[in-house]
Symmetry: C2
Subunit: 216 residues, 2 copies
DNA sequence: CCGAAGTGGAGGTATGCTCTCCTCTTCGAC
DNA sequence: GTCGAAGAGGAGAGCATACCTCCACTTCGG
C-alpha cells in the first residue's frame, strides 16, 4: 500500500502550517506543549494534526532531523578553522546559540523514551567531531587537559538552562555564562585541579536522559 | 483557641516520622513528589499527614526554614575568612554543596506561587551577605570585575542542574563544573570581556521563579 | 473503661494531556 | 457540474497524576 500519492492541495497547505506552527511553538516553549496548542496556533483542528502525523513524536522527528544536520555542519565548519581554540569555541558557542534560540531542540536532545534513540543517533554523528575538536585544542595546549569529552555537553546543558530561564527577560544573557565557562576551560590562566573524575560513557548517557520518575 | 496542647505520644511520634521521611524524599527527589509517597515512606496514611500539616506547603515550610538559617550561617562564616578569595569560594562551594545534597532545598529556592514569598524572604537575608562577599573579592582584584551580584545565583543554578542530573550516577560530579566556573570567574588569568549586560533586579527575579506555563 | 484524639486509605475533585471517532466540508478528476 | 474520496474539525474518551477530604475504625491515657 501507499505509494506516496501526493496530498490534496489544501492538505499540503495545512501540513505546512502545522510544521510552521510547531517549529515556532516548540522553539519558544519546548516540547512539553500540547498538540492542541499547536493545532490552535496553526489554525486547524487536532484531528488534522493526527491525520498527518501518527503521533507527537513523528511531528518532532520531522522537525528536528535537519537540526541535527545543522549541528554536524557546525562541527565540520569548526574543524576547518585552523586555530584550535577558535575552532572549539566556535563549536561551543554555536551549540549554545542553537539551544538558546530553540528550546524544543534542546529538549529533543534530552528527552527520554523515543527521544533516547534520536539522541543516540545524534550523538553518534556529533560526538566524534566534538571529541576531535576538543583533542586538537588540548594538544595545542589551549584548553585544560583535565577536561573530558563528556564534560563538554554538561557545560552545554548549563548554558541551555540559563537560556531557558532568561529567554523572556534577557534573551542574550546566556552569553555571559558561556563566557565564564569558556574562560574556565581555557588553559591560558592557572587552572584549579579537578577534584573528581569525569563521567564514563554509561554515567553520561544516564545523566543526559531526563530523570525517570521513580516509583514508590 | 488552641493553646498548644501537647500531642498524644503516638501522634508526636508520627509527626517526627513524617518530617524525617519528607526530609529524606524531598532531598532525594525534589519537591515534586506526592504527599502519598511521603506518607507511604513514613509508614502512615495520607490522612495523618494532613492532620498534622494543613497542606503540602506547610510541610515544606517546616522543613526549610532551618535550611535558610544554614545558608545565612555559611555566609557569615565565609565573611569571617580573611582572604577574600577563600571567603567567596567557600560560600559558593557551600551553596552548591547544599543544593547537591538536597534537591528539595534547591527546588524550594526556585518555586513559584507560595515559594515566591519564601524565596523573597530568603533572598533578603542572603543577598546582602553574598553581595558583600563578592564586592570584597572584586575590590581585592581576585574576581573579575565585570561579574554582577545577580550572576552568582545563576551560576549556582548551573551547578544545581548538573548535580540533579548526575546525582544517581556520580554524586560528586558537580564539583568539576563548579571548578570550571570558579576558574572562569577568577581574575587570575586573562578574562574574556562580557558580551552582554548582567541582569537587573526585576529580570533576575523573573528568571529565578520557575517559568510560568503560558496559556494559548 | 471510655471518650477524645488519632489513623488509614479509598475516593472526590481537578487538571491536563494524547489520541480517536464520526459527522460534515471541500477538492478535483472526469 | 457531479460525486466519490480525501480532508477537516473538535468534542470527548481514556489515562495519568496530583492534592486533599471524609469517616468508620483504632489507640491512647486520665
Amino acid at each position: 500500500m501507499s505509494a506516496i500519492r501526493p496530498l490534496r492541495a489544501d492538505a499540503e497547505r495545512n501540513r505546512a502550517r502545522i510544521l510552521a506552527a510547531a517549529a515556532e511553538i516548540f522553539a519558544e516553549r519546548g516540547l512539553d506543549v500540547s498538540l492542541d496548542d499547536i493545532a490552535a496556533h496553526a489554525g486547524v483542528g487536532v484531528g488534522t494534526v493526527y491525520r498527518r502525523f501518527p503521533d507527537k513524536d513523528a511531528l518532532i522527528e520531522a522537525l528536528f532531523e535537519e537540526k541535527i544536520d545543522a549541528v554536524v555542519a557546525l562541527a565540520d565548519e569548526a574543524l576547518e578553522i585552523e586555530d584550535p581554540w577558535e575552532g572549539f569555541t566556535t563549536f561551543m558557542r554555536g551549540m549554545c546559540r542553537m539551544q538558546a534560540a530553540d528550546r524544543g531542540f534542546k529538549d529533543a536532545l534530552l528527552a527520554r523514551d523515543r527521544g533516547r534513540e534520536r539522541m543516540a543517533a545524534a550523538r553518534e554523528r556529533i560526538a566524534p567531531r566534538a571529541t576531535k575538536l576538543l583533542a586538537r585544542a588540548q594538544e595545542a595546549g589551549v584548553i585544560r587537559s583535565d577536561l573530558g569529552p563528556f564534560d563538554v555537553p554538561m557545560l552545554n546543558l548549563c548554558v541551555g538552562l540559563i537560556a531557558d530561564r532568561t529567554r523572556d527577560v534577557a534573551p542574550d544573557y546566556w552569553e555571559r555564562v558561556l563566557t565564564i565557562i569558556i574562560d574556565g576551560i581555557s588553559a591560558q590562566g592557572p587552572t584549579t585541579p579537578m577534584p573528581v573524575e569525569t563521567l564514563d560513557r554509561e554515567a553520561f548517557t544516564e545523566a543526559m536522559a531526563s530523570p525517570r520518575r521513580r516509583r514508590s
